[in-house]
């Protein structure tokens, strides 16, 4: 089978069988990164533009590594170095990029829907690497890959997502994905940082972390953005850490074999304490490793042209 769209814009557009296709394909790619020569010729001659309008180190490096290990040529395009600061519109930049005929554009943008806009105006395959507080599909996919690797399955898993759900594209994509594959999600955060009617996304809601952690198989902590405190979403970091920070004592409320995840970068001592971040339950670094395999799988599955058949 293949993916139905030539773009990866969000989890919202994926059917469960497509999600599992990406996860299964990523299993095969994980092996490539363990070889002595970590490179396969699969995307030789393909060009990828990494168009990161919003700063990102982790996601961009992960995509870049995935592209290099598949032998694609990549071009990094970031606002500091581009004419974006010179007042060019997104549409004009997109048309200019498209005129160079890349096969993929990986887009990180501060506005929700920017990749969808690009997809309507470009011939390349668009991959959403995070758009505003909307979606971050490859992060949700690598999170699901990591959960499945550790737990063996996704259906029925109890997942607690704790923190700033309101501004988090990671949370949104994860809720969408986990609901599609039959996991049970509880979101938790201060009332000011939960979207209105979040329960309509199909998850349980609580303001008390102890309640969210109860029996959880997976605990996903989100990064607190410090500028949110300035804008009055919560009074002090100290209070936030006390009410919503995860430490070893609290983690005992979760299932005995629970895993702890964080999309990074972590604020140690605020949303996650050092004893948990470095403890035996933490799979935070596995998430980073798996990110490369999952992004390789996405690039591989979006390659290829018209509907035809395979011959070997």
């Amino acid at each position: 089978m293949k993916l139905r769209s030539r773009h990866l814009l969000g989890i919202a557009a994926l059917e469960p069988d497509e999600i599992f296709l990406i996860l299964d394909t990523a299993e095969g790619f994980a092996e490539v990164s363990t070889r002595e020569i970590k490179k396969v010729p699969t995307l030789r001659g393909k060009t990828v533009v990494n168009f990161f309008v919003e700063p990102s180190t982790r996601t961009r490096s992960s995509f870049e590594l995935a592209e290099k290990r598949l032998s694609a040529d990549s071009l990094n395009f970031s606002p500091g170095a581009s004419s974006f600061v010179k007042g060019e519109t997104l549409l004009d930049t997109a048309r200019n990029l498209d005129a160079m005929a890349p096969d993929y554009i990986v887009l990180r943008h501060s506005e929700a829907g920017a990749p969808h806009f690009l997809a309507r105006h470009c011939r390349s395959s668009i991959i959403n690497a995070g758009d505003g507080s909307h979606e971050h599909p490859t992060q949700a996919l690598l999170d699901a890959f990591t959960m499945r690797q550790r737990k063996g399955h996704l259906a029925g898993l109890r997942v607690a997502i704790v923190g700033d759900i309101l501004h988090s594209r990671v949370a949104r994509s994860n809720i969408l994905l986990l609901n599609r594959v039959g996991a049970r999600v509880t979101v938790c955060g201060p009332p000011t940082l939960l979207p209105i009617e979040v329960e309509r996304m199909g998850c349980a809601v609580t303001h008390w972390i102890d309640e969210a952690l109860q029996g959880a198989d997976v605990v996903m902590m989100l990064r607190v953005q410090l500028e949110r405190m300035q804008s009055g979403f919560f009074p002090t970091l100290r209070e936030y850490a006390r009410l919503y920070g995860l430490d070893a004592r609290r983690l005992k409320l979760a299932a005995p074999d629970a895993i702890v995840m964080h999309p990074g970068p972590m604020n140690r001592g605020i949303e996650i304490m050092g004893d948990v971040a470095d403890g035996g339950s933490s799979v935070i670094l596995e998430q980073v490793t798996n990110g490369v395999a999952v992004r390789m799988a996405v690039l591989y599955l979006l390659a290829g042209g018209t509907e035809g058949e395979a011959t070997a």
Binding site: G28, E31, V40, G308, T311
Partner: protein, 193 residues
């Protein structure tokens, strides 16, 4: 052959004999099992490689190591096909350096799978030599590739499909020649070649 027809080319007994003969020929050609290892091409080359290895083990008292290679990352037609074969595991639990590798596949057809497998193997190390064993050679090569060990040569029409079924993957052992019902643009897909 009439369109839509199916002919059984091999059954469990003839497949067993072919595997046994290939094992004998490998031993004859290489004299010893020292440095010898088998690598099966996903999917059906893998159980065939294990069967040949077990046969060699029964003859020589030592089962040579086996591995599996997935060729999908080395295909030359990725941008031309809409259908993406699911990537399977590549698992070679030994060092290729200096080894004599017998590459094993079920059907030899255009030779493109073997070309891809060779590219995959040399990316993983530098074997001393690579030989090729196939259960069925059906002709119609598109590349200058030949097998060193062949279970059965079968003359086919390009539109025919050769379907290899093995107990490990399909529940029973048999090789079928299938002439598809007359249809334009039919090329084999997946497990049949």
């Amino acid at each position: 052959m009439p369109s839509g027809g199916r002919v059984r080319l091999m059954d469990a007994a003839t497949i067993r004999k072919a595997v046994s003969r290939i094992a004998h020929e490998i031993l004859e050609k290489n004299r010893s099992l020292k440095n010898l290892a088998l690598v099966g091409i996903q999917t059906r080359g893998a159980p065939l490689a294990r069967r040949i290895a077990e046969r060699l083990g029964a003859m020589e008292g030592r089962v040579p190591p086996t591995g599996i290679v997935d060729i999908n990352l080395y295909r030359d037609d990725l941008s031309r096909i809409g259908y993406h074969p699911v990537l399977r595991r590549t698992d070679i639990p030994f060092d290729l350096e200096g080894k004599c590798i017998v590459l094993v596949d079920d059907v030899l057809y255009t030779g493109r799978t073997v070309r891809a497998a060779l590219a995959a193997l040399v990316d993983l190390g530098r074997p001393e030599r690579i030989q090729l064993a196939v259960l069925v050679d059906r002709g119609h090569r598109e590349l200058p590739i030949r097998a060193d060990f062949v279970g059965k040569n079968v003359p086919t029409a390009a539109s025919d499909m050769v379907e290899v079924r093995l107990a490990e993957t399909d529940g029973e052992d048999e090789v079928l020649l299938v002439a598809p019902p007359a249809r334009r643009g039919t090329r084999p897909r997946g497990g049949s070649k």
